[in-house]
């Protein structure tokens, strides 16, 4: 049962990493527009010219 004392911190750290990733993505503006990417899913074309 004492394995719980190891698992709890690991679980919390993993959860924390998830939240951190979400915060990072939000700060970079990935959630600013959630409607247009849904439309882009049905386009089947070449990606834009990369530079």
């Amino acid at each position: 049962m004492s394995v719980i004392l190891l698992m709890l911190p690991i679980a919390l750290i993993l959860g924390g990493l998830g939240v951190a990733a979400f915060v990072w993505a939000t700060r970079r503006g990935q959630f600013d527009d959630v409607d247009t990417p849904a439309m882009r899913a049905i386009f089947d074309d070449d990606p834009p010219i990369k530079r």
């Binding site: 919390l12 939240v19 979400f22 503006g29 600013d32 409607d35 247009t36 439309m39 386009f43 074309d45």
Partner: protein, 841 residues
């Protein structure tokens, strides 16, 4: 009067019915008969569609049409500005609106007109194919904006703008960069708060399950301690982080003495936290961190919904491309000759000469220095009749130039124009309107007091019976009484209603507008565009109908609204059979048009003009027609005489006609308890005609009202009805700039289809479909919504009573509390979702 025999006697019985309807190859709408080209492989309904389709095919982007079919979007014809967009290359523009992103690339945010479906997004994001030099174009469909990155040296921005315009998406620079950035930051912060609250709530709930198991099966004191301390730690993260929103709200509610739902929420969370910390440290008593963190999460989500609702109007403001154009054509004399340059309006100075071509809007308030024409001032006055102007006359910014090229000397530009000042009136009126305290907030305060009283009574009661449980039970009362469902009830019901209304073309800004629409008071209706179609039509005909076909043929060459009305009527008479061709048509501005059709001399114009032309040739206007013309003018219509071969044949009266169903809608409004009044900027004649048709008494209609007059009337009506203090509502329905201030000041301002952008920004609701029918729908939907809110509130209070009851008698436990909360929330959500408001029937 003789008419050649080859004209069919009864135009309706032609073989035109054999011709099938032709659809535009680009937008899918029906092509008007006059524009059908026999034998052409593709037909288009307008030059805009033709140009756009040309570009689409030339770049091999035909997949656009397939994509559009699959997204089921409604067809719309292409509207172009047809400008050169030279000001996009201006240094000021570059500095203000574009950014350098390195490696020779620049980036710009543009607001686009006409973006409404996935196919538009696809087409625009293919911009690099259409304009070499563009690196990327990313579209935000909800806000109608595009972020364009391009090689600054390879292609000028004006060329990119022209390409977008040609495809049908006229670009405008995105102003208000600072407001947008602020709102974006707030949105992001709200999302992060929800994320933290959600993560914590989930973890605390898992820990709580372990503790629940311990209740039934027994648990080691050590593990119980570990889980409790962890719950407290995590709980504090949520309550002191994202949860502070509620404490701040409660403090400001107390400070300003306005009731707010945050008050009982903060009491519950605060007492719960304190008692939870104490109990964890002393290892005794129950902790409720699981319920509280879940509460924080749910309530934050509910608020997020509420705030997103308010966004449509703010986003519509982004698209507030000026009612007056952002650029102008300045005439500069240098050396011996003249040069016309396109510049930003910001760069104009008083006294500059600006050129306005027919079909364009005046960009400034100015005085005519050369040219003569007729202008349409309906943007400001609501008057649909064109006004003649010549040298020395004033032209306001926003007026549409109808017939001839005008040169204006700038008297006021930008915010100093009449239109600019009106906009200031609008924003002032909107800011001054006191917010209506929502019913839920008022309930919340009563709730807080009642709960505190019950908790106090519980404490006192248990101190007598069994002092050890007194504090625990009192705190449990406070926690369980947290109005989670109460806080969710209104936002959920309102969100569902507003979402459904939006899919029916009725865009509502917020729940308070819906609430206000349920107390019938006074409705002020604007005439032009709201009750009437806003477009000139042939209202009365005195004489024969056939000459109108000839008149239509002649008027085809003019852009005047009167000409357009005659052409439409003539086309309807020939049933799509096409109008004959006119030869040597000559237009006299302000008078009429002369020419030959099928070998006959035709004159069409005002009675004065036609009379003059006929008398000069020895003909005349028949007295019967002259009397008819005078009668029509007195009635508020514009009389137009059609003369064939020297004698008047027909007199028609043109006016702005009532929309279909307007009379029925007004009757319905009356029977619902609203007092209907008419408020128009147009002349008394037309207004009286419409008022009489609708049964509106002379005391209830006003003509010739300036925007300031309208505002004053609304204010008076609101004072009389006590609207500020929650009495009967005063509703204003309008569509033009001249209604905007009144719309902002009224209890509920409703902007109607086809309205100016300023009206949209000032209003609480916008109806995208024409006619008054949707207004009746809006009123019905509001009533249903308020009823649903009532039902949700009742359900949530029932659950609260149940929980408090259990707490008072000491039967409560974290498990019970944890179960009650989702139960009540789900009940409220189900009730809200199954509301019948704005349903398709």
């Amino acid at each position: 009067m003789t008419i050649k025999e080859d004209l069919p006697r009864s135009p309706r019985r032609t073989l035109a019915s054999a011709r099938p309807q032709v659809r535009c190859a680009h937008c899918g709408l029906v092509v008007p008969a006059g524009l059908v080209e026999d034998g052409a492989p593709e037909q288009y309904c307008c030059s805009g569609c033709r140009t756009a389709a040309g570009v689409v095919r030339a770049c091999g982007l035909d997949a656009y049409y397939r994509l559009r079919e699959s997204t089921d979007a409604k067809p719309r014809p292409v509207k172009l500005a047809g400008r050169a967009f030279a000001e996009f290359d201006d240094q000021t523009f570059t500095r203000l609106y574009t950014r350098d992103t390195g490696a020779g690339l620049r980036e710009v945010d543009l607001c686009l007109e006409g973006v409404h479906c996935a196919a538009c997004v696809w087409l625009l994001e293919k911009l690099p194919t259409v304009v070499p030099g563009v690196v990327e174009c990313r579209v935000d469909v909800r806000r109608g904006m595009a972020k364009v990155r391009w090689e600054a040296g390879a292609v000028p921005l004006s060329k990119i703008a022209r390409a977008m315009d040609t495809l049908g998406y006229t670009p405008h620079p995105a102003r208000d960069g600072a407001t947008r950035a602020l709102r974006r930051r707030e949105d992001r912060r709200a999302l992060i708060r929800i994320a933290i609250a959600g993560a914590v709530a989930g973890n605390v709930m898992l820990l709580a399950f372990a503790l629940y198991g311990g209740v039934f099966g027994g648990i080691d004191a050590m593990w119980s301690g570990v889980f409790r301390w962890l719950s407290m730690g995590l709980g504090l993260i949520s309550l002191l982080g994202p949860g502070m929103v509620f404490f701040r709200g409660a403090v400001s509610s107390l400070r300003t003495r306005t009731p707010h739902l945050d008050l009982p929420i903060a009491i519950a969370l605060g007492m719960g936290t304190i008692s939870g910390v104490i109990n964890t440290i002393t290892s005794s008593g129950e902790i409720y961190f699981d319920s509280m963190t879940a509460l924080v999460f749910l309530l934050l989500v509910g608020r997020c919904f509420q705030q997103r609702q308010q966004r449509w109007a703010a986003d519509a403001l982004e698209l507030l491309f000026s009612l007056t154009p952002g650029s102008a054509r300045r005439v500069v004399s240098d050396g011996g000759g003249e040069r016309v340059e396109e510049i930003l309006c910001e760069s104009l100075g008083i006294g500059d000469i600006v050129e306005v071509r027919p079909g364009e809007s005046a960009p400034v308030d100015g005085c005519v220095v050369s040219g003569h024409s007729q202008i349409d001032r309906s943007l400001l006055t609501g008057e649909s009749r064109p006004v003649s102007v010549e040298v020395g006359d004033r032209v306001p910014a926003g007026a549409v130039n109808l017939s001839g090229v005008l040169r204006l000397s700038v008297e006021a530009a930008g915010a100093a124009t009449r239109v600019g000042k009106l906009m200031k009136l609008v924003s002032d009126a909107a800011a001054r309107r006191a917010p209506l305290v929502a019913r839920a907030d008022r309930l919340g305060s009563i709730f807080a007091v009642v709960v505190l009283a019950i908790a106090g009574a519980t404490l006192a009661g248990w101190l007598v019976v069994d002092a050890s449980r007194a504090v625990g039970n009192a705190v449990a009362v406070l926690i369980v009484a947290c109005p989670c469902a109460l806080a969710l009830a209104t936002p959920m019901a309102v969100t569902v209603s507003i979402g459904r209304a939006a899919s029916r073309g009725i865009l509502v800004r917020g729940g308070d507008a819906l609430e206000r629409l349920t107390t019938p008071g006074v409705i002020f209706l604007d005439k032009t565009g709201t009750l009437t179609t806003g477009v000139m039509t042939v209202a009365e005909i005195s004489g024969e109908e056939l000459p109108l076909v000839l008149a239509g043929a002649l008027e085809r060459s003019s852009t005047h609204p009167i000409a357009a009305a005659i052409v439409r009527h003539a086309e309807r008479l020939t049933d799509g059979g096409g109008l004959p061709t006119a030869i040597d048509a000559r237009v006299t501005i302000g008078g009429g048009i002369v020419g030959h059709v099928r070998g006959q001399a035709v004159v069409v114009g005002s009675p004065a003009f036609v009379g003059g032309v006929l008398n000069g040739e020895g003909g005349e206007i028949v007295p019967e027609h002259r009397r008819a013309g005078e009668r029509m003018a007195a009635d508020g219509l514009t009389p137009v005489v059609v003369a064939v071969n020297g004698r008047s044949a027909t007199v028609i009266g043109l006016g702005d006609e009532l929309r279909d169903g307007a009379e029925a809608a007004v009757e319905r409004l009356r029977s619902d308890g609203w007092r209907v009044r008419l408020l128009s900027g147009d002349h008394a004649g037309p207004v009286r005609r419409i008022a009489e048709r609708l049964g509106i008494a002379p005391g209830d209609w006003t003509a010739g009202a300036s925007p300031e007059d309208k505002l004053e009337r609304i204010r008076t009506a609101m004072r009389e009805s006590g609207s500020e203090r929650g009495g009967r509502s005063v509703v204003m329905i309008g569509d033009g700039v001249n209604d905007a201030a009144a719309l902002a000041a009224a209890s509920v301002g409703i902007a109607v289809h086809g309205g100016a952008e300023a009206a949209l920004a000032a209003a609480d609701a916008y109806i995208a479909r024409p006619g008054l029918g949707p207004v009746v729908e809006l009123l019905d939907g509001s009533r249903r919504t308020v009823r649903v809110i009532g039902r949700c509130l009742a359900a949530s209070i029932t659950y609260n009573c149940l929980g408090v009851g259990l707490a008072v008698v000491g039967l409560i436990h974290p498990i019970v509390a944890a179960a009650l909360m989702p139960l009540s929330s789900v009940t409220v959500l189900t009730l809200a979702y199954r509301s019948g408001a704005f349903d398709r029937s």
